[in-house]
């Protein structure tokens, strides 16, 4: 679906992307993770034909991104970026009707798309009266109108509260189940862990790690079993067969409050790999 090889982008004397390579397969949810200024939005702009790369190749749907600027290809993908806008004086419905007409989809899809972002009852509300979170959900609904094969999402839940984020996450998972490939940039590691089948860590324009979240967590896991005892003590034992007897003793004496493995979050791994916090 997306194939990027040795991608570079230079702004003046600043190298925004360096030798970036990755592939996104059909049906995948790919997370492009990194702090602000790491090159995530630049990558989305290149992949959607809004910006030209300085070097390297970027293909979407098997063709170079420079050839994406035709109505036929644009109907196949959707984009929500952090600076996407809506017409404030118009209602939610009028905003979505414009795009339904542009994409040639039925007006019935407006209701369906609004339902999927939990805004079914708000379609007559003027956009100027919406909160930032609601605006973000309308933008998502607008992108879902034409059921794109490929969806680019740049920090889609950054302005949302946990309840609405969860609603959006469920919607995205359902969309992905229906076959939509999702390219997601985020600095929310929980979101990436919850949604993505593959993640790439981008730091200062360089992809430093690329793998499945499960594999990464396995790879960076500390081989330790933690035991919290009822008397308040905490023990760390090696994750080996030799620890089994000791653990069994604590259990048989009913001393155990909690047993856990020390599995890192994607955020922990990012910090370990890049030395930077995800902000």
């Amino acid at each position: 679906m997306i194939e990027v090889k040795s991608l570079e982008k230079i702004f003046g004397d600043k190298r925004a992307l360096q030798d970036v390579s990755f592939q996104v397969k059909k049906g995948e949810t790919f997370g492009f993770l990194g702090p602000s200024g790491s090159g995530k939005t630049t990558t989305i702009k290149i992949l959607t034909g809004q910006m030209r790369q300085s070097a390297g190749t970027a293909n979407v749907f098997g063709i170079p991104v420079s050839q994406l600027n035709t109505p036929e290809y644009r109907k196949r993908f959707g984009v929500v970026t952090d600076n996407s806008g809506l017409y404030a004086r118009l209602t939610i419905y009028d905003n979505l009707k414009l795009y339904a007409d542009l994409y040639g989809t039925s007006l019935q899809r407006i209701d369906e798309a609004l339902e999927s972002v939990n805004l079914g009852s708000e379609k007559k509300t003027q956009v100027a009266k919406l909160s930032k979170g609601m605006t973000q959900r309308v933008l998502l609904a607008r992108t879902l109108l034409h059921k794109p094969e490929l969806l680019f999402l740049d920090e889609p839940t950054s302005a949302l509260d946990p309840a609405n984020s969860k609603h959006i996450h469920n919607g995205l998972k359902e969309l992905n189940r229906q076959g939509t490939t999702i390219f997601l940039t985020t600095h929310d590691m929980e979101e990436a862990d919850h949604l993505c089948s593959q993640v790439a860590f981008l730091n200062k324009g360089v992809v430093q790690l690329l793998d499945e979240p499960k594999q990464l967590k396995k790879q960076y896991r500390e081989e330790i079993i933690g035991i919290e005892l009822k008397d308040g003590r905490e023990l760390e034992l090696p994750l080996k067969a030799s620890s089994a007897e000791e653990i069994q003793q604590y259990i048989s004496r009913e001393m155990v409050e909690r047993i856990y493995t020390k599995e890192p979050t994607l955020g922990d791994i990012f910090v370990e790999v890049t030395g930077r916090e995800l902000v």
Binding site: Q50, M51, P71, E72, K75, G85, Y87, R89, L102
Partner: protein, 235 residues
């Protein structure tokens, strides 16, 4: 190159609906009507005065409206959404220009009605006005692309108003200020020439020059607008 009437109409309808609710821009576009009412009270209005209001209408409605519509799309980050949709550059610009054309024609026609000016038998003048309208809209498109907000657009429109919208008034001062002679080449003055020549019964052999000058303005602004659009739409 594809052109979808459905997409063109979608943009046209949206802009019309949006403009209806945009009091600042729509009230500014009604200014020529106020001039028309004032001038209609001074008794017999000379042809030059009619041409002044027509040119003012073209500049204030045609250029400012187009400029404000595009500047606001940029200011609110909605133009990028349109550019990423299946709508082509031609469909977007045609949809927006159609709104400006319709409103400019209505405002100009109503202004002339108020001033008791009839277009009957003035085919050359109508042709000249329509050609000039293309220039004023292309100029508005270009200005909309180089300004970042409606507020900035309303500042940038001032020199355009003086140079292109009020040339018919300032040309009277060209004897005192020689630099103003350059205004003779503005579309407004060319429209005045077209009106005067055709009133005197001249044919195209005499009228081609003002038409050619307006056409040159049209070509230059169309190229400028198209080049700027392509440049501004890529980061």
């Amino acid at each position: 190159m594809t052109f979808s009437v459905k997409r063109f109409m979608a943009i046209f309808q949206k802009d019309l609906k949006d403009l209806y609710r945009n009091l600042y821009v729509s009230s500014t576009a009604l200014m020529p009507l106020i001039f028309a009412v004032i001038y209609s009270r001074i008794g017999e209005v000379p042809l030059a005065m009619h041409l002044f209001v027509i040119t003012l209408s073209l500049a204030l409605v045609g250029t400012f409206l187009q400029c404000a519509i595009i500047a606001e799309e940029k200011e609110k980050n909605t133009l990028r959404g349109l550019m990423l949709s299946p709508a082509t550059l031609t469909e977007i610009l045609a949809g927006k220009s159609a709104v400006t054309i319709v409103i400019t024609i209505i405002v100009t026609a109503v202004s002339m009605f108020i001033m008791d000016f009839s277009f009957t038998g003035r085919g050359w003048l109508i042709a000249g006005i329509l050609l000039s309208l293309v220039f004023f809209i292309a100029l508005g498109t270009w200005m909309g692309l180089i300004t970042r907000s409606v507020l900035e657009a309303s500042v940038y429109i001032l020199p355009v108003m003086f140079i292109f919208g009020m040339a018919n008034m300032f040309i009277g001062l060209a004897d005192q200020f020689s630099f103003l002679q350059v205004l003779e080449y503005t579309p407004g003055i060319q429209l005045e020439e077209i009106a005067e020549f055709s009133e005197a019964g001249a044919g195209f052999d005499e009228l081609w020059k003002p038409f050619a000058i307006i056409l040159a303005w049209v070509a230059a602004t169309l190229v400028l607008a198209a080049v700027t659009f392509k440049k501004r739409m890529m980061d």
